[in-house]
Each structure stands twice: as structure tokens, then as C-alpha cells.
Symmetry: C2
Subunit: 416 residues, 2 copies
């Protein structure tokens, strides 16, 4: 590396791309770790796919938006390549490419970034984390129930209690009109009922080529729609899987815009967080087989990671002491720094994340200020008096309280 | 998404890019989790930077190789962008861009992919994980010691016991010749002593413009080189930090090719693994300030992630039961699947990762085969007899042993 003429380059990130400084990254890690644990408790297995794929693997899979927003370029070997746009098409590729190594059903989770060159706006980014679970290779309704139960348990693990899984069956819609070609447009219109209101939805159905009277009837039919047998069975499974009845309900207007869902669809909304659903998914039986050239049923869901973080922030669900180091061991003097080193090592061995101040000559004030800036809960001071008596001074940075603690009790004192 | 004409597209990955199926990903996660835990125990904080940067941020920082191997392209807004090539230049950008929010010393770790369009060969990939710790903003030798101690503890946490941290001080070299301009070429030559042998190294020093006699003297001087005062102090710190003397040594020929190191340098080699060092780093005091236009001292190191995995594989250090689900609860019949669901939920609540077989109609044989294919340790069977007596049949898939266990003892039985 050389640094000629570096001075003129302004340090900045691309629009829609973000640095996550430690405070933010810790929150993200907290959520990822909690979700991973729940996913794995259900036996979902981790999968990693490359950031770059042959463009032809991704092209033509994401509609007109995908063509516009996909990051595509030619590499130095003149290959047309594209950055991962979602985690479902790579999953379809994997299922087909390694069919001999992956016993079905294949239950996998993937948590990785995707890239979309959308126009950045509130809550939209060009690089963002996706967090998916999918079960591939079975059309059992048990799999649908498990995906929903696992998603609900994930939210519980994060501390959400008041949430609702809205559930519908795409098949409800196919009984609504005779001409199934018009169905996708109608479904897309219904999907926006909550956002656009009844009038606008009827207008949109009309512009899909349905006469106004029929459009009204369609909405009415949905209003009086009873849960299908499928949905009733699904609800039974959910209860057996330990999901409270208060946490899910039949939602006949739920449509989910994407064309590829074939049966069960669901979205999860959180009470007190109105920016939209934090998780959505369903059954999509004709997508995963696209590279394998046969039908491979699948059901899955994706968490909106940025929304999860936002919802947790607004409902105050992050632990108050989500800092990396719990303790800063200060260094009193050049003569005494070895004592500090040893105390720090002992705390670490007890599983307590511990920083040592990395300068034997820094004033105590400066060391305390550093602990404060970094939200470290406890500061340990070992001066000549403490060193002589086998004790330390322990300062609680939250309360300001300061006390002398025998060395052997220090671990317990900072764990409380 | 639509799947028109999908059938002709062959599912494949780009050369130098890898899918990690669950078995491999679990190993990777195991290593990442263990290292993260150690890094955080020392107070290193997590940082995330974008995969894409303005090209000018990265250009000119990685020498001629960097220009050749960097993935660069124009995005749809005609911005010149580049994929992350390492984690150090982004760190330099971050330190300068957020100088008000990051109290120094800033100790961070970053574990993320980087992309380099090298010609793929054994052990070289175009997408690979980097795993860095760095301490920025202090020139205290304590920081050097802490980086080395933390790296050593990381290896211990992974189960490595016989490893050696080879340590040198770049300043040793500057006393060797008068013309310091020739030093980088000499250092690069010495760095290859182990690989190329004495003869070739002397030839290379000669072609850097040093006469043969002097080249020999340089090597001799290094052979009799005593540890500098700096290195002796560093060794003292390492001992205080709990690193055994057997795990580190003075290595006067260690040079590390990169020009930017300014003082302490080190590499870690593992006994029984000969493909190269698994970790390397040192002090580099004139790099991190490049965007801030001032000198910001720094010391850090990077683990070679793929080599770590390889070394762990070859030394058999991964836990034998590194599977996602520990138990498969089978489904005996449509009438009894609720019992199976409940048992699975109970096991999960006890912290045991548990899969349920997702088909009420599958034959028991097929379910057992599935557990076997997925390396699941235990299978639980709940037939009419078991259901009637509040017990389950527990089959150990490793030993083949099968026994009846009362429901309330099942958790304990599979934890053993």
C-alpha cells in the first residue's frame, strides 16, 4: 500500500450503503444470534452462497424491478456477473446443483447481504441483510406450520410479545373469478387494501379489466370468507406447536404481492410498530425447481432485518448493557501495570469481557473518560494501596458508586 | 419471478467462488463464534463496512496486484465502485469519517468477505473471509502485546495447543544497510528465506543492487541478531498476559512482505500444519491516517480463515457432533403426530436442537434414513405403546442402541 496523494480523497460511503459502528453492529449481532439459535432449535441448517453469481442465474427471475435494480457487470474474464439479489434464487440453484448431497426435505437458513440499486429512501438501502428460513422438498402442511411457528418463536426470543401472524391461503382468490389470467393483477390490488382503502382497490381491480360491480362483489366475498379447511388444519398445528391463539389470525385480504406464492401466505405485524410487517412468507411450490427442471415444493419466510432493529429500538427491547466490554481495568502506573494485566486476565477467564487501558502513562481521568465514552459499566483501579492489600477499587460507572473489593470477589461483584 | 426458459441454464458457481453447504458452514460458524468470543473478551468491538466502496477509496492502496485483482465497475449512476479488497483500508476510512464518534484507542474486529480476482489455485479463492483485529490510535507496546495475546488465545479456544508466534521488529532491518531505499526489496527477499533457501535469497538481494559479499553479511548479521529491547519488553508483556513461553519466539528472519509495517511483526505457525502461517500482523503506524491526513498509529493482525478451517480439519479439532439438530422426532401416524410435536417442543425448550419429521405419512424406515443422512445423533419414536405409557423409544444413531425412556427423562438422556 502507498499513500501518495491520499489527502484529496474524501472518506465517504456510497448512497444507500452503510457503515455499522460498534454500537449498531452489536445490536445487529444480538438479533442475528437470537434468530440463529431459534432457527437451529428447529433443525434449520446454515447455508452460504457467493455474493457474485453468473448473471444468467439471476436474470429474468425478479420481474422488471429486478432488471432495473440488479448490480451487474463484466468481470476481468468477460463473464457477465451479478451481485446476489435475494436468497431464494441461489437456494434454487443450490438445491439443483447438489441434489445428491442434500437429503430432502432440506431445511436451511441463510443470513446474508443482498444488493439492489433502488433509489434510497426512508428505510430502503442498496445493501441490506436478508434473513430467510425455507423448507424445500415437502408439500406437507406441517412444514408451513413449522415455518410460522419458528418465525413466531424468533420474535418471542427477541422480546416481542404483542404480534400477530396474519394468515391466508392464496387458493381463496382463485375461486373469486373465472378468468384466472386476471388474478395476479387483482391479488396485487387487494394486497394494498390497508394502504390504499376500498375505493382505490376497486379502481385498480377495474383497471385490470373487471367491471365495477364484480370488483365490489369480490371484496364482499372476501369480507365474508371463512377460513379454508387447510387454514383450520394449519391453526391446529400452530397450537400444538405452542403458538398462542392470540398470536395468529385468518386474514382474507392478505394477498402478498409476489406472483409465486401458491397456497399458504402470511405476514407478521407488531403492535406498536407501524412501519410495516417484520416478516412475511408462504408456500411457493413452482419456484425452487426452476434449475432442476421439475417441481420441488417449498415454504419459507424472510425477516425484514432493518425493520426488526427499528422495532426493537422503538419498543426498547435491546438489553441496556449491550456493550462489548463490561469492565475497564485501568493502569495506575508503570510499576503497577502488571497487576492490572493479571486482574484483566482473571476476569476474562471468568467469562467477563474486559478491556485494559493500553497506556501505562495515561492519567486516571482520561482512562475514566474512555470508559464513559464506551459505555463500559465498571472500572477497576489498582493503585499502591490496593496492590498492597490484594484488593481493587471498583467503580460502577452507571451509579458512580465506588467500593473496595477483595480480588477474589471481583468476578462476582461485576457479574451482578 | 417467472421461470420461462429456465431449463437451459446450468446451475453453477463462478470460478473461485464457493457455496458452503450446511456441514461446511457449521464449521465456519464454529470458528467465527469462537474467535468472536475471544476478541470480545479483550474488548475488541465489531465493525461492519459495505461490500461496495467508491473505487477511489480503494485504488492505489494495494500495489500493482491490487490494480489487477480488484473487482471494479460502474454502477447505474455512473459511479466508479469497487468490491472490498481487504478490511484495513475501509478501517482507515471509518476512523477518519467518524473521528468524533470513535474514542481512541479504537479496538475493532471485522469478519467479512473480501473479493480478489486472482487466478484460483489450491487454497486461493476469489471470495474469502477475512478475520481481523486492530487497535488504532495508540503507539503503546501494550497494544502490540494484546493483539498477539488475543490471537494466541483465539487459537487456544479453537483447540490448537502446539503453535508458535514468530516475532520480529522491522527496525532490526534498518540497521543492516546504509541505503534505506533498498530496504523494502531486501526485506521481501529475506521474507522468503524459508521457502527459497539461502542461495536464492542472496541472489535476490544482489539483484536489489547490493554486492554479494554484503548480502552474505546481512544474512549473517541476522543469524546472530539478539532480540531488541522492544522485543524483550514485548515478551515480558506476553508472559504477564498468560501466554506460555513455549508459544512464542524471536525470529530475526521473519520479514513479512508488506511494506507498511513499521515495527513489531509476527506470524503464527501451527505444528503439524505446513501450508503456511494461520495468522499474521504487526504494527503499521503510517497507514490508518491516510484519509485523515495525519499519523494515526495502529497494530493488528488477520487470520487466514480458510487455512484455519483446513488446519482444524487435519488436526481433527472440530467437535464430532457439530450438527444442527441433535434429535429427530419421528412421526408414527396421523393420529399420533401431535404427541411428536409436543415432545419436539419440550426438547427445544430444554435447549436441545430438535427436528420433527415433516410428513405424517412417511414410513419409519425413511425417517430413520433421513436422520442418518443428516448425521442426527438421536431418533425419538412415539408409537401407540409409548403414547399409552408416557414414554418414548430413544434410538442412538451412533451405536444403534435403543431403549425406552420416560418422557420426563428424555431431555437428560439426549444431553449425555
Amino acid at each position: 500500500m502507498n499513500k501518495n496523494n491520499m489527502s484529496r480523497i474524501e472518506p465517504k460511503t456510497l448512497k444507500g450503503f452503510r457503515d455499522f459502528l460498534p454500537k449498531e453492529t452489536r445490536k445487529r449481532q444480538y438479533v442475528i444470534d437470537a434468530l440463529r439459535k431459534v432457527f437451529e432449535s428447529y433443525g434449520f441448517e446454515p447455508l452460504e452462497t457467493p455474493a457474485l453469481e453468473y448473471a444468467e442465474i439471476l436474470e429474468g427471475k425478479y420481474g422488471e424491478e429486478g432488471e432495473r435494480f440488479m448490480y451487474k457487470f463484466e468481470d476481468k474474464g468477460d463473464r457477465k456477473v451479478a451481485l446476489r439479489y435475494d436468497q431464494t434464487v441461489p437456494l434454487a440453484r443450490v438445491v439443483s446443483q447438489y441434489s445428491n448431497d442434500l437429503p430432502l426435505p432440506f431445511k436451511r437458513y441463510q443470513i446474508s447481504n443482498v444488493w439492489r440499486g433502488e433509489n434510497p429512501q426512508a428505510g430502503r438501502f442498496r445493501e441490506f441483510l436478508q434473513c430467510d428460513i425455507d423448507t424445500v422438498g415437502t408439500n406437507s402442511l406441517l412444514a408451513d406450520a413449522e415455518i410460522i411457528a419458528c418465525a413466531a418463536k424468533g420474535l418471542k426470543a427477541l422480546g416481542f410479545s404483542k404480534f400477530k401472524v396474519l394468515i391466508n391461503d392464496r387458493k381463496v382468490f382463485s375461486g373469486l373469478i373465472e378468468d384466472n389470467n386476471k388474478l395476479p393483477a387483482i391479488v396485487r390490488a387487494i394486497d394494498k387494501l390497508k394502504k390504499n382503502g376500498r375505493e382505490k382497490v376497486i379502481d385498480e381491480i377495474v383497471s385490470a379489466g373487471i367491471e365495477k360491480g364484480l370488483a365490489g362483489e369480490i371484496l364482499q366475498a372476501l369480507e365474508t370468507q371463512k377460513p379454508t379447511e387447510n387454514i383450520n388444519r394449519l391453526f391446529g398445528y400452530l397450537k400444538t406447536l405452542g403458538i398462542s391463539e392470540g398470536n395468529f389470525e385468518f386474514a382474507p385480504f392478505l394477498a402478498r404481492g409476489l406472483d409465486y406464492y401458491t397456497s399458504t401466505i402470511f405476514e407478521i405485524e407488531i403492535e406498536g410498530y407501524d412501519a410495516g410487517s417484520v416478516c412475511g412468507g408462504g408456500r411457493y411450490d413452482s419456484l425452487i425447481g426452476m434449475f432442476a427442471n421439475r417441481t420441488i415444493p417449498a415454504v419459507g419466510c424472510a425477516f425484514g432485518f432493518d425493520r426488526l432493529i427499528e422495532a426493537m429500538d422503538s419498543l426498547n427491547l435491546f438489553p441496556a448493557d449491550l456493550t462489548t466490554a463490561r469492565v475497564l481495568v485501568t493502569v495506575f502506573s508503570k510499576e503497577l501495570f502488571e497487576k492490572s494485566f493479571k486482574v484483566a486476565s482473571t476476569l476474562r477467564e471468568k467469562g467477563i469481557n474486559t478491556e485494559i487501558y493500553l497506556d501505562e502513562q495515561a492519567k486516571m481521568d482520561r482512562q475514566l473518560k474512555y470508559a464513559d465514552q464506551k459505555d463500559i459499566s465498571y472500572v477497576v483501579i489498582i493503585g499502591p494501596k490496593e496492590a498492597g492489600t490484594g484488593s481493587v477499587t471498583l467503580k460502577n460507572m452507571r451509579t458512580g458508586e465506588q467500593k473496595t473489593v477483595p480480588l477474589e470477589q471481583l468476578g462476582e461483584a461485576v457479574k451482578q
